[in-house]
Symmetry: C2
């Protein structure tokens, strides 16, 4: 076989391969549009949500059905939110203004029991509200830092496994979930997740209690200048 | 030229074309990564933001520089947020819990003056807070509907031109912008924008004052059943 013939055969083979891959992609997108064509995870839930039993999320392997009177095996905005939190396998970073919801507190404690590293950043004033779960979470040994500025640490976001962002208007309270009109957006789009990871780390460092007791470099520099004067 | 030769030439041409397009795409992605490779708009801003003059956003064609003492031509989280609002060319749907910020109110009124249809949905209780801009906006002739439920309409999102979603933890207040720790996420990703458009329309319809005075179909059915009994 001559070199020219070889080039022609390779060329035609490349065309056939390219077209096959394109057509296969098109076919897969038609068959499973949500899984194939949409890229990273993107979900939106709205609240208030209907009240449903969440026991199966905490004890999925239990052979006994939950005897509570609430509807079972119902997929609500809240069960989806809980599912995303409980899906954490390597880390949970939570930055939330108000945290009183018992189911979400149970989810955080369950992750802690599984040995998953958890960091919680919250507003100092709102740790004192009735029903705040921050005390129980701290007593369990989870690392919590409080923003004690004169203004509010008003974020309501979580980053699961440094990859999945959960953000929106919803505080982690029963009123927010069962009564208010609220939204939650879940995404694994890196362009949206990475800024939140960076901001969490920045706020975490700024609110390090060890750091607060030490004078900042700027303060040290100012004192040196004063000394020289 | 024989048919076989023709097939071979077309085949090689197709290979060359495919490779050229791929290489051109790769080159463009390297040259303008944010514009070419990232798909729909995705931005995240954090607050508090530094205070800067916003006059150039409202009067971009003015030949006179603003004489105010604030920093000029500074790109802050707030100027970017204002820019997105002022970019509206066909519609603005706003669903916000608290609205007291004068610059954002000015932006909404400027869009109204340009003839852009605006719909605002807010929490009834929070229209009564000090500095609420809802009264001024209503007086200008912009359509506002209030959610008067016993709980809060706690959303903080806007949809610009039925295409761009602005959502996050940030209420449209001066404290939120200049003092609190807050976040705003801006995206044109259809999977994230469309649910917010649908939810806005649902809440808009539910809070139609004309509808509230009429008995619902369920109430009518109930009264018919009572009449039959």
């Amino acid at each position: 076989m001559s070199v020219v013939q070889m080039v022609k055969i390779v060329g035609l083979g490349a065309v056939a391969l390219t077209l096959s891959v394109k057509w296969l992609g098109w076919l897969l997108c038609r068959l499973w549009p949500r899984k194939i064509s949409r890229g990273p995870l993107k979900e939106v839930f709205f609240f208030p949500t209907e009240v449903a039993c969440t026991e199966r999320l905490f004890t999925p392997d239990s052979p006994f059905p939950c005897p509570c009177p609430l509807p079972h095996n119902v997929n609500t905005s809240f069960t989806r939110l809980l599912g995303h939190i409980l899906s954490a396998s390597s880390s949970l970073d939570l930055c939330v203004f108000a945290f009183t919801n018992l189911d979400l507190s149970r989810a955080v404690l369950a992750l802690h029991t599984r040995g998953i590293p958890i960091r919680i950043l919250t507003d100092m004033d709102y740790t004192l509200i009735t029903g705040s779960q921050i005390g129980a979470i701290r007593r369990a040994g989870i690392c919590v830092r409080c923003d004690s500025g004169a203004v509010h640490m008003h974020h309501k976001f979580a980053v699961v496994d440094s990859r999945r962002l959960i953000t929106g208007s919803l505080n982690w309270t029963l009123t927010a979930i069962q009564s208010n009109k609220e939204n939650i957006l879940v995404t694994e789009e890196p362009d949206l997740v990475l800024p939140f990871i960076t901001e969490f780390q920045r706020l975490w460092d700024v609110n390090d209690p060890a750091r607060r007791n030490l004078p900042s470099i700027a303060e040290k520099a100012a004192s040196l200048v004063l000394y020289r004067d």
